[in-house]
Every structure is written in C-alpha cells, then in structure tokens.
C-alpha cells in the first residue's frame, strides 16, 4: 500500500512542478498584445480557415489492429510471469507453451489477413496521385 501512496505523491509532485513553473513565469513575463501577433503560424501567410477540418489520418485500420494487439499483450504478460516457475515446478511444455503458441498463432493469422488486405498499407490520397501524374506529364 505504501508503494501506491508514494506513487500518488509522485503524481502530486508531477502536477505541482509544472504548476509552479507556470506561476513563476506568469509573475515574470510581460504581456504586450499587438495586432497580428496572435495569428496561428502558417509559414508567414495569413492563416486560411481553421485547423478543425476533416483529415485523412491514414491509419484507421491500423488503430483497430492496435486494439487487438494491445489486449493480446495484456494476456501475454501474466503468462510470461508464471512461465518459468511453472516449468520449474514440473509442468510440461505441452501444457505451458503450446496454448500460448496457438493463441499467438491465431493472431499471426489475423495479421497476415490484414496485411494481405492492405490494412497496414499507406494509401495515397487520390489528389496526391493526380498531382504526381501531372508532374510526370509535364
């Protein structure tokens, strides 16, 4: 229990240090509002529109895959912890190792399927492809 109290204390310190730095800075720094200063940076141009736009993130399928593998790692960790001591206590490889190999095997099949269906492929947007062909034509 004292471990988790100490970790909680670290959490408090981890919030306290940034807050202290922000406070010190707020006391020190000047404030000189000028026109144009608060425009978002867009390479020196006047910004066009907002940044809250629909954007092709390219890795939606990969993110789904990540959830699958992340849950898998959660299942693998307890197995790695007991693996060696189970073997030392005389459990056979067939009972300790083979089920996990089957489990990983199922996931590998899933990864191969996703790979072959192009889920982990970087898809260029149609506009980018068009621009590329235009450049080649010119």
């Amino acid at each position: 229990m004292s471990d988790w109290i100490a970790i909680g204390a670290m959490g408090l310190v981890g919030v306290g240090i940034p807050l202290a730095m922000m406070t010190v800075s707020a006391l020190l720094r000047p404030s000189v509002p000028e026109q144009g200063k608060s425009a978002t940076y867009e390479s020196g141009e006047v910004p066009t529109g907002t940044a809250r736009v629909q954007f092709n993130i390219q890795y939606y399928m990969v993110a789904l895959l990540f959830v699958v593998f992340d849950i898998e790692t959660v299942l693998i960790f307890p197995w790695t912890v007991i693996y060696r001591s189970a073997l030392e206590q005389g459990a056979s490889l067939a009972t300790v190792l083979v089920p996990m190999l089957l489990f990983i095997g199922v996931l590998v099949v899933g990864l191969v399927w996703a790979w072959r269906n192009g889920a982990v492929k970087w898809v260029k947007s149609p506009q980018a492809n068009r621009r590329k062909t235009e450049r080649q034509d010119a």
Binding site: M1, S2, D3, I5, A6, I7, A9, M10, G11, L12, V13, G14, V15, I17, P18, L19, M21, M22, V24, S25, A26, R29, P30, S31, V32, K37, S38, A39, T40, Y41, E42, T50, A51, R52, F55, I57, Y59, V62, A63, L65, F66, F69, D70, T73, I76, F77, T80, V81, I82, Y83, R84, L87, L93, V96, L97, M100, L101, V108, V120, W122
Partner: protein, 350 residues
C-alpha cells in the same frame, strides 16, 4: 524469489520516525520531490547545454562557450530567458486543453520514474506491477500531445499530433512485447527483482565475471527494444512528430514561454525514462563495478541520451509511410518472433 527491499519513501519515513499512513504520505512526498528534482537537474544539463554541445561536436563546431566555465551558466540564463518570455495565446485555441497539455507531458514521464530503481536505495516505490506501470504511464504523454495538436488550432500541430499517435500505436506493441521476453527470464514485473536477477553471474572469463545482463543474454531483444524506444520517444530516425523540415515544430508549434519549456522538459524526461527502462531491463539497472550504484545509473541513462543525440546527428529521418511499414511489418513480426523463440529456448533449457 521475493526480495524485501526498502524503498526511498520507507527510508525517509523511517528517518523522520513517522509510522502508518502519515509516514507513508510524508515519506512519499519528500521522496517524490527528491526523485523529480534529480530528473529536473539532469534535464537542465541535457536540454540547454549538453544537447547543444553534442550536436556541435558532431558537426565540428563550437557551441555555448560564452557564459561560465564550459558555458555551463547558459543553463541559468536560458531558464530565466525562457520563463520570462511573453506567452502568446493564438487565436481560436481550445482552452483549457491548451493549458493542461503542457502539464500532462512532464507528468507522464515523471510518474514513470516513481518505480525506477536508481541504486543506493533510491527507488520511490516498488509495486509488484512495476514494469507494466512504467509502460502505462509513459503512454499518457501521447494524450498530452494529442491535446496540444488539437487545441492549438494550427495545421502543423494537428499533423504532428496525428503522427505522434501513429508512432505510438505502431511501436508500443514491439516495445512491450520485447519487454515481455525479458519477463520470461525474471518471472516478475517488480523492478527490484528484474535488477536482482541480472546480478547473477553468466560466465567467468579470466577472473572477470560477466553478469546476466539481458543485453548479453539476448542481444537481439536489446536491439529491438532500443529501436522501439527511439520511436516511442520520437527521436531520429523516427522524429516524424516534430520533423522540423516538414511540419515546422509539429505539435509544439504554437507554444511559447513556460508552456514551451514544459513540453520540452517533458520530452527530455521521456528520453531519460526510455534510457532508465532500457538500463533496468537490459543493463542490470544500477549495477556496475567500483562506483556506487547511483553513479552507474546516471552513466547508463546519459549513455542512452548520447545515443539518441548521435542518432539525431547521424541518421536521416524516415518518411511517414516507411515509418509505419517498419513498425507494423518489421518490428511487430520480429518482436513476436523474439518472444516465441525466447519462450521455446527457456522451455527447452529449463
């Protein structure tokens, strides 16, 4: 095997003669403050001074040599300069997310250091799930990066944040799975036990005993872990979330003053956390001959820092699609191969 070690918070509450919950809380707070300040001091050396010196040395230039011996007082002037700069709040930022994000990034990295054994009894807490905890809290930084990216109302920030997420989901699994292959040897997630197992001798050559550091036992896993680690902390060749020549400064484009300092600080503590995890899992933690444990710990995490700076100066950046290809088609497959092979070899030998 269970070793009863004394954590830093217990040592402090013992010294103060406090028992029970009050002792835990006071010991925890004092200990946490100490550990956090150790990391802040290291970051102060690394950020404004060592990084510039190292980069300059790689480019055969001279850097920061004006103020103080070896330019060391640059650290003080830079701290004052950055904290006293005007904070420019851009138009249309999403507050308070924009203000909270710079706190989340250093918070995540500092929290990870709560379970790292630094030698000489400097380990704040030693929970049974230490390793899983360290990986879990180190990932909170991604949340902070997404907050910066979305709240800034800047297109470069948005792209940088999305790239950071892509990096995190592609390389988190290889990182954790490679660590799991170490756990097969140790049979425990407790940090002090992972270090203790590595103290056993591996082979003795001419009177010199080589310990069972997992970098020697399984160098392949060590290499995988270092690559995944570089990607997790976003350093070359995987620095696509910031990529100065492509997207200005990525997710931190719109930040200035203390907010910028905090994001920068968080990144550097994160590099050191990556180094600390690599040292704990693969390099025997604070173990080493002659010098005290804490000195060895500092040497090991600075060696990792030097490694990241070397990569930064010497390796070109990958393209974002190549980056994801390496993560999903290379690292993921290799890390699972490593896990299965380790399990089979341990199973056959044991």
């Amino acid at each position: 095997m269970y070793l009863q070690t004394t954590t830093l918070s217990e040592t402090i509450s013992g010294l103060l003669g406090l028992d029970g919950v009050i002792g835990d809380v006071v010991g925890g707070l004092v200990g946490a403050f100490l550990v956090a300040n150790i990391m802040l001091i290291m970051t102060a050396f690394a950020g404004p001074w060592a990084k510039r010196k190292i980069t300059a040395a790689f480019g055969d230039r001279i850097a920061v040599n004006r103020i103080g011996p070896f330019g060391l007082l640059t650290i003080v002037t830079d701290a004052v300069r950055l904290l006293s700069k005007e904070l420019i709040v851009p138009e249309g930022v999403d507050r308070p997310a924009w203000d909270i994000a710079p706190m989340v990034i250093p918070f995540s990295a500092l929290l990870g250091f709560a379970v790292i054994p630094m030698g000489n009894g400097i380990q704040l807490a030693d929970p049974e799930t230490g390793l899983a905890f360290a990986f879990a809290v180190a990932s909170i930084a991604s949340l902070g990066i997404v907050m910066t990216g979305y709240a800034s109302n800047n297109k470069f920030s948005l792209i940088g944040a999305l790239r950071a997420v892509a990096a995190n989901i592609a390389y988190e699994i290889p990182l954790v799975i490679t660590a799991a292959s170490v756990v097969i040897f140790t049979g425990s997630l407790r940090m002090s036990e992972i270090v203790a197992v590595q103290a056993e001798p591996l082979v003795s050559v001419a009177g010199i005993t080589i310990p069972t550091w997992f970098a020697f036992v399984n160098p392949f896993a060590f290499a995988l872990f270092m690559v995944a680690n570089l990607a997790e902390i976003g350093r070359n060749p995987f620095d696509i979330p910031e990529a100065p020549t492509e997207i200005v400064a990525g997710y931190q484009t719109e930040y200035s003053s203390a907010y910028f300092v905090l994001i920068y600080l968080g990144e550097f503590i994160h590099i050191f956390l990556g180094g600390a995890l690599a040292a704990t899992l693969f390099l025997g933690g604070p173990a080493g001959p002659f010098l005290p444990g804490f000195v060895w710990f500092v040497i090991k995490i600075w060696a990792f820092f030097l490694f990241t700076q070397w990569a930064r100066s010497a390796v070109p950046r990958l393209r974002v699609d190549q980056f994801l290809d390496i993560g999903w088609k290379g690292m993921l497959v290799l890390s699972f191969a490593n896990l299965v092979l380790t399990a089979i070899i341990v199973g056959v030998i044991a």
